[in-house]
Amino acid sequence: MGEAGARTWKQYSILPGFGLTLGYASLYLSLIVLLPLAALASGVFSMTWEEFTRAAFSARVMASYRVTVLASLAAAAINAVFGFIVAWCLVRYRFPGWRIVDAIVDLPFALPTAVSGIVLTTLYSPNGWFGAPLAKLGVKVAYTELGIVVALVFIGLPFVVRTVAPAIEDLDPETEQAAGCLGVNRWQTFVRVLLPALMPALTSGFTMAFARALGEYGSVIFIAGNRPMKTEITALLIVTKLEQFDYQAASAIAAVMLAGSFGLLMAINYFEWRRGSRHRSAA
């Protein structure tokens, strides 16, 4: 019995509960994640190929993919840089009000997205606090692609900060001192020693912010202006189709969106894994 069991694919582990937790995990994932996705797929499979392409790849929808992906990438890149700085500052230094700043970082998580959307729109509209001076400089934010990026930066920030901060905390201060003793200046130490060590965390923070931005709806629709072909995001198009009771078109667009983001996430994870697998492998 035991012999036969040992030959199966299951590795014996000193930690009990493998069967139970795997069963629970797969049931939970199926119910919460896979079932709705399957429903989506079944909606798509009932369409003919022409119907599908018309719904999912029309010029207006293609424009929405473009603006969604580009704005999300831009927002995630901005967050990767500035979120990194925020995380660095929060981990390395203690200053009066540190706790408050630390809590503020999480605010975009907690705020209903519609609220942040309305607030950002008010601020950046041509007569708002930021919008008016920017308008004088000839920069329009609200109701443009730039506005979409602003909203996505806002909601994406905590993802980068919260994934990068623990990695910065884990850095061994002695490696920096070792670099110093070898005659390396601070900037080179940062670029050649610290940044490579932080890359995995930074990439996953970027990926999470990016993934979140791709699906963001509430905060964007107010500030985007939603002009077809220009500032209309894919999530909004899906809602529009639903409101017109065109469930099939909605699922077709959603399916493309899903496949696209899944592919992108897999690609990013793969490259990060390949880049980092060498020095992470234990002896």
Partner: protein, 341 residues
């Protein structure tokens, strides 16, 4: 390079880690800073490296070959080996060693072939040529520490500073590595300072030992000097096992109680009381695994005495636990001022 430290103090909040320490380390010497934790030895090493700054006090100076150094913290291009290796984990062994050479300003930087030659030379020095392409996470502790040493030596530092370099390793690896370090130093006499709390390590490796206690230098001298002629009770206790006897002084002092210290190998056990003063006691434990036989004797006063004797003598006497014996002191020391920990 010659290093002179003059009146160096360092306090952290209310704690005084170093209290007016002056010290000279001569060209080509391997000096061990030996002391218990909290004695200030690591702080002193970090101040030499420039990783920490001494308190700004009158007369505080650090001189390298006579030249006064800026006292503020800022790394000084010294070879520094950390207890926990501090290797760059995203770089291979080769790149770790080459790092100090690659980051030099362009004018001073060697070209790629020179760098490769230098790293290869260091790899053969640490006997790790075959694993140049591995990452630190794939190495054992002893291998990591050798890489760290090669990395520190790559920039041809004028001083090599080692902060408990073997502290995180197994006893066996540790012994091998410290012998190797000694041979390396004989081959390449870079002025070196080694911090350790292991007296055996210090006695075996160093040319000179600086014993530290509570932020001050307690004694400095060759291993023979500090071991055989300790100046204070603390040095004697710290450098090996010690038996304490309470005795009444005769002669000059008027019958005051003093403590007499004797090393376990400076005691003699016999079955006869004989002449002179001997302490009577019962053998409670005999331990023969090791270089010498160790015997524990419980005195009638309730104290335990440790005696060490050579195996052949132990066999000739045939002592067993439970026997009554007499312990005589062959050599002992009395220190006028005792210390408290």
């Amino acid at each position: 390079m010659n290093i002179r430290l003059e009146h160096i103090s360092r306090s952290f909040g209310g704690f005084t880690a170093l209290d007016d320490v002056s010290l000279e380390i001569r060209e080509g010497e391997l000096v061990a800073l030996l002391g218990p934790s909290g004695s200030g030895k690591t702080t002193l090493l970090r101040i030499i490296a420039g990783l920490d700054a001494p308190d700004a006090r009158e007369g505080a100076r650090i001189r390298f070959d006579g030249a006064e150094m800026d006292l503020r913290a800022g790394a000084r291009q010294v070879g520094f080996v950390f207890q926990h290796y501090a290797l760059f984990r995203t770089m291979t062994v080769f790149e770790n060693i080459a790092f100090g050479l690659r980051v030099k300003p362009k004018r001073e930087r060697a070209d790629e072939t020179q760098i490769r030659a230098r790293v290869t030379e260091l790899l053969s020095l640490i006997q790790l040529e075959s694993i140049a392409g591995r990452y630190p996470s794939q190495l054992s502790g002893g291998q990591r520490q050798r890489v760290a040493l090669a990395r520190a030596l790559a920039i041809e530092p004028r001083i090599l500073l080692l902060d408990e370099p073997f502290g995180a390793l197994d006893a066996k690896v540790r012994q091998d590595l410290r012998r190797w370090l000694r041979r390396l130093h004989d081959k390449m006499p870079v002025t070196s300072v080694l911090v350790t709390h292991d007296q055996e390590e210090a006695l075996e490796v160093a040319d000179r030992i600086v014993v530290m206690r509570a932020g001050k230098v307690e004694q400095e001298g060759t291993p023979e000097e500090v071991f055989h002629h300790p100046k204070t009770a603390f040095v004697m206790d710290f450098l090996g096992n010690v038996n304490l006897f309470h005795a009444r002084m005769e002669g000059g002092h008027t019958g005051a109680m003093t403590q007499v210290r004797a090393r376990p190998h400076d005691l003699e056990v016999s079955r006869e009381e004989g002449s002179g003063s001997a302490v009577r006691g019962k053998v409670t434990r005999v331990q023969t695994a090791g270089a010498a036989a160790k015997i524990e004797v419980a005195t009638e006063g309730g104290e335990t005495i440790m005696v060490e004797m050579a195996h052949d003598r132990f066999k000739a006497m045939g002592i067993a636990a439970g026997e009554t014996v007499f312990v005589r002191v062959k050599d002992a020391r009395v220190f006028v001022e005792d210390y408290t920990i």
